[in-house]
Amino acid sequence: MTIRKFTNIFACGVALAALSLASAWSAQRVATYSEALEKAGDDGIIAYCYGPDWNRRSVRMLNTFWKNPDTEAAAGNAVMVAIPFYEDSNHPKAGEAADIRGDFPDPPFGVCPLVVMLDKTGKAYAHMPGSDYLGDEDGEKGRENIRNYLTKFRKYQEIIKKLGLHEAGAQDDATGSMRGEERAKLIAEALDLQLYIPGGAIASMPPHTNPQLLKELELADPADKTGLVRRYKHVELQFRYKLYDTTDGFLKPDFVPDIDMIKDECFKIIKDPAYRPFDRQSAYLAYIGQARREGIQPNQLKGHIKKMGEIDPNTVLGRGAQALHDLWGSIKVKKTPEQRKAARQKKKEEAKKKKDKKIRDRRQNEAIEF
C-alpha cells in the first residue's frame, strides 16, 4: 500500500467519522426552557417532562431514554431541554425547577413522563405521554416517535413555507402564485400530518383537524372543487348528533329515528370518496346501528359491516370490523319478514300517533308564543 493510498483511506475515515458525528450530535441540550426558546432553530424544541419527587419511572428514564445519545440523534437539530415538575412546592429544588420551567406550559393532565415537541415559537405540535408513546424505560419507542414526529414537522414546515404561511404576510413569488386546487392539495397534505391537534396530549378518536389550516383550505378552494373542504370540514360528532336531532347527545324523550333520512344522509358520505375513510366508515356504522335497532336480518347486517370494514381496514373501525361482524352478525332476529313488516307498520303507526300528539301539542303551543 502506498502512503498516498493510505492517506486517502485515512481521509475517508475522518470524513466518515465527521459525517457520523454531525448527524449524531446535531441536537443540543440546554438547561432552561427560556434558553431553549432563544436557541431553537427550524427543528424547534423537544422537552422531556418528569416528576423528580413523585414519579420514579420518569426519573429513571432521564438516564435510560433522555440522556441516551441515540435520543439526541433522533432529535435532529432540535434543542433538548429536560423540565422537572415537582409535586411538593416546598421541595428544596422546587424553586430551581420553576426557573428551568419558565413559561413552559403545564403538561396536559399533569402526566409524566412526557415528551413535548414544540416549534421555535414555543407552540406545541406534538405530545407524547406515557408508555403508549415512549414505550419501555429504554425509550426505543419514544425515539422512534420523536423521529417520526420530527420528519412530519419538517414536512409540515416545508409545506407551510411553500404556502407562504410561515411568517405573517410573507408570500414570495413562488408561493404567491400558488392558488386554487394546487394550494388546497398542499394544505390537505399538511392537515394529514395531524400536528398541532387542539386539546393537547390526549386525542380521542382520530382524525382531527387543525382549525387554522382549515380556514386556509376554505380560502384556497371556496367552491370545494377538490372536495377537500368537505373532507376536512366534516365533523363526525356533529353529523352523528344531526342524525339524532340532538345538541348534547341526549335523545329527546319522544324522538323517533327516521331510518330513511339516516340512510340517505349516511350514504351521501359513504359513497363520496372525498371524505376520509374513517368518516365514511363512521357514517356507515351510524346506518348499521340504526338498521340493527330496526331489526335487520343478520346476514344483511354482516354484509354492511363487511363493506364498512373494507373502506379502510387500517382505521379503528376497519380493524374492529371483523369482530363486530361476528358479534352483531350473530344477533338473532326471530321475526319473519312479515312480522318485521308488521312491526315496522306498528312502529310507523305509533310514530304517527306521536306525531299527531305533537301536532296537538303544537296547536296548544300555538296559543303560546315564545
Binding site: F6, W54, P69, E87, K93, G130, Y244, P257, G289, R293
Partner: protein, 869 residues
Amino acid sequence: MKLSHILLIALVLGVVVGYYAEPGVAPILQALVKKEAKPVATRDEWDDLADENRPDTDVEEPKPEEPKPDEPKPEPEPEPVDGFVDGEEEGEEEDPEGTSPRKIKRYLGEDDGMRPVKEEKYIGKITGANWRQPAMLERRLAGNLRQALKKLDQKGVAEFLKKPENRLMLAQWELLNLADMDGLSKLMKDRETAEDLALLLNDLPWVSSFVYDGQLEKPEVALAMIRHFRQNDPNMDKDVLYEGGTEDAGNTQPGLKRRIAAAVAVQFTRNGWYGDGREMTPEEIEELKVLGNMGAPRRRGKKEKPDVFKDARERYSFFAESADKELLHSGFANLPGWLMHIVCGWKGNSPFGTATTMRWLRDNCAAPAMRYTGMAFQVPYLPLNVSGDVIFSNFYYEPFQSLYPDNFAKMTRDVGAVCGGLSHFGTSAACANGVPAVTMGEPGHCAYAVYADGKWNPSNSLSEDRHPHWNCWGDYSWSAFTMMTDMFQNGARTRDAQMVATMASVLAKHKNPINALKLYELSATMQPLNQPIWAMYMETAAKYLKRQPRKWLGVNEFICSSVAPQHPAMCASFLTDNIYPSMLATLRSPKQKIAAFETLFNNFNINEKAEWDMDKLLDMQYASLGKSRSLKKEFFEDLFDSVSKHPSFSLAVAWAIRTSYAENKNFGKQVLEMVEKAMETCTDKDLMVAGIIRGAEAVGNIELATQYSEPYVKKKEAEMKPLPKFEPVGGNLVSEGGLVTLTKYHPDFRSAIYHGAALTPAGGLIQSDGGKHQKVTVELKKAATLGGVIIIPTSGSAAGYYEWNLEVSKDGKEWTHLAKLPNNVNGPVRVHIKKNNPTAKFIRIDSGEGQLIGINFRALLIYDNKKVH
C-alpha cells in the same frame, strides 16, 4: 485483511466508542462538532436528582422469628396491676357523670393518662400448631386477656397497651372473634398453611392493620386469599431491605407486599369479589365455605371450578410488582392502612379494575396526586356513540371492544362516556398509580374524590349531596366519610381506642357486660369519631344504664362536645340512632332533657353547608317534651339562642316555624316573636330570615313569607343591577306577593330571602338543588287568568336546559301541562299565552328527567291577560 482496512475499522470503532464513552473522547468530539452544546446537568447531577427518592438503606428490619413447634404458651401473661374492674382509680372520687371533661382531657392525652402508642415492630410466638386449633386459641387468648383486665384500672389499661405483646394478643383475639371458626379450622387444617400464616399473624403491625384498618369481614376467607397470594409469590416476604438487595430493585418499605396482600384480601372478601372475571353463582359462593382447597382449580363433575381468587391474585400481583419496580406514585409505600385499602381495593368487579386496565393507567396516566382531580376529563363526554347507540345500552362499546381487550379505561378515553365513565376513569387512574380516590353517587350523577394534601378533593361534582362508594362501616354518607377520614388521620389514637374496644368485647363475650361497658366508654372517649364503637357502647349501655340519668347526660355531654363541633350531621345521627332512644326514656325530668338538648345546641359551631337530617333530630327532641307549652318555649329559646350564635344552624328556624305554625297559629306567632328576639343579637340576620321564609313556605303561609320578603325586594332593587330587558307579555303582574316553594332547596338556602323579590321586576334569586324533577312552584295571592310568564335565568345558567315543563293548577294538586320551554336559553324566556288562557292559582316549572344541575332564576314573573291598569 490489509492494513488500511484495519486502520479504517479502528478509526470507526474509535469514533463509536468515543461517542458512547462519557466522559472522555465524546465531549471533545462533541465540542468539535457543536461548540455550544452544553448538557443541562452532569451525570452526577442527574444521578443526584434520580436518587432523591431512594429509601434510606440504613433501615434494618429484624427477620421474623421462626415459630417453634413445641411452644407451650401462646402469649406471656401480663403483669397484674391495680384493679380496673374492682374499683375506681386510686385517689379519684367517683365521677357521678361518668365522663367528665377532666377525664376526657386526660384520656385524650393532654394529661399524663392515655397517650397514643405507636405500633412498633414486634413478632409474636404463637405457632402454626396453635393456629390449627383456632377455637382453643381464642379461649386461651380470652383467658389471658380477662386475667389481665381483672387487675387493671384506667392507668393500667394505658400501661397494658404500651406492651407490644399485649397489643398483638388483642389484635389476634379480635381476628378470632370475627372469624367463622369452622371455616378457619378448615383453612388451618393444612399444616403448611397454618405455619405460613402464623408468620403473618405474629407480625404485630401487619395483624393490627389487617384487623383494624377497615371493616374485616370473613377473616378466614381473607386469610385463605392471602395464603393463595403467598403460594403464588414466594418472594412476598423477601423484602430487599431485609435481603440487602440493591436500591434499583425492590420496594421502598419493608413489609409493603404483606400490606398490599392484606388490603386486597380484606377488600375483595368484604365485597364478595371472587371469581375469574365474572360474577359467581350463589352456589359457588356457598362453596367458598369449604376453605381447604380455595384458590386451586378443582373438578366438579366434568367442569373446571372457577379460579375463585384469580381477580384478587391479579390485583395483588399488580400492586406488588408495581411497588417492586417503583412504578407507583412515591407516596404509595407510606400510605396508612385504610388508604391502602381504598387504593388496592378499587373495584374488583369492574372492568375499570382489571389488571390490564390498571397497568395501562399506571403507565399512561401517572400524575401528581392533586392532578387526578382533572384526569377524568381526558374522556370525552358523549352520551351517543358513532353507531347511534346510547351510553346506557349494551351496544355502546361493542364496535370497539375487540380493539381494547380487557382495557376498558383506554377504550373509554378513546370512545367516550358520561359522568359515570369519566369519574371511574379518574378514580381508576389515581388508584392504579397508588393515589387514593373514590367514586361518589350524587343525585342523578356520578362524581369522584381524590385524596391529596391530606384531604378529600371532590371532582366532577355537581352537588354536596355526595355518597362515596367506599366506606368503613356501611354508612355511605359524605359526613360519615369525612368523619372516618378525621378518625384515621389520628391513627395511633384510633388504634388504641380500637384495642380498648377489643378488651371490652372480650369481657362482653365472656359475660362481664358492666366492665365491658366501662371499656367501651373509655374507647369512645379516646376516639369519639369511631361509629361502630359508639354503636357497641350504646347497645351495651341501653341494657345496663337504664336507671342512670346522670350517666346518660354525661354521654350526651361528651358526644356533643367531641363530635358536634366538626361533624354535626354525624353527631345528630349518633344521637337519634344510638343515644336518644335510651337516654330520653331514662331521663324523667323534662328539665334534664332541655339541658341535654342545650348542650348539643351550644356545640354546633361550624358552618356546614350540606343539609342533613336536622328535622329528624329536632322532631325527636321536640316530641320528648310532651305537651307543655312552657317547656317547648324553653326549648325554642335555647334553640334560637344557639342559632343567633351560629347562624349556619338557621335551618332549625325553618323547622321551628313550620312545626309551631302547623301545631297552632298563635303558638307559631309566639315562636316567631322568639325568633325576632334572637335575631337582635344574631350576626347574620339574613340567614335567620331565610329560615323564617323557608318555614313559611313549608306551611304555605303567604302572608308571613311576604312580610319577611318585602324588605329584600327593595334591598335587591337598590343593590342589584337591573334585570336584562325583555319584551313584556301584556297583562298585570300577578306573581308579586306570591309564595315560592321548591322540591329541594339549594344547600345554601340564604337565597330564600330573595324569593319574594324574584316574583317582581326588581329581580331576586330562586335556587334549587340539583337532580331530576326539581320543581319551582309559585302560589299566587289569588287565582288569575294567565296571559304570560317571563323567566330570567341567572347569568351563566340557562332556562329550559332540557326542555322544562311549565304547568298550571287551580288547587296545587291537579296539574295541567301548559308548555315546554325552549331548549337551553341563556337570556329571558318569554311565554305569551295568546288563547285558551288558563285560570290558575299555582304555576310551576318542572325540570324533568334530564336535569342534573339546579334551577337558577333571577326572576319568575307571571302576568294575567287583563288590560294593564
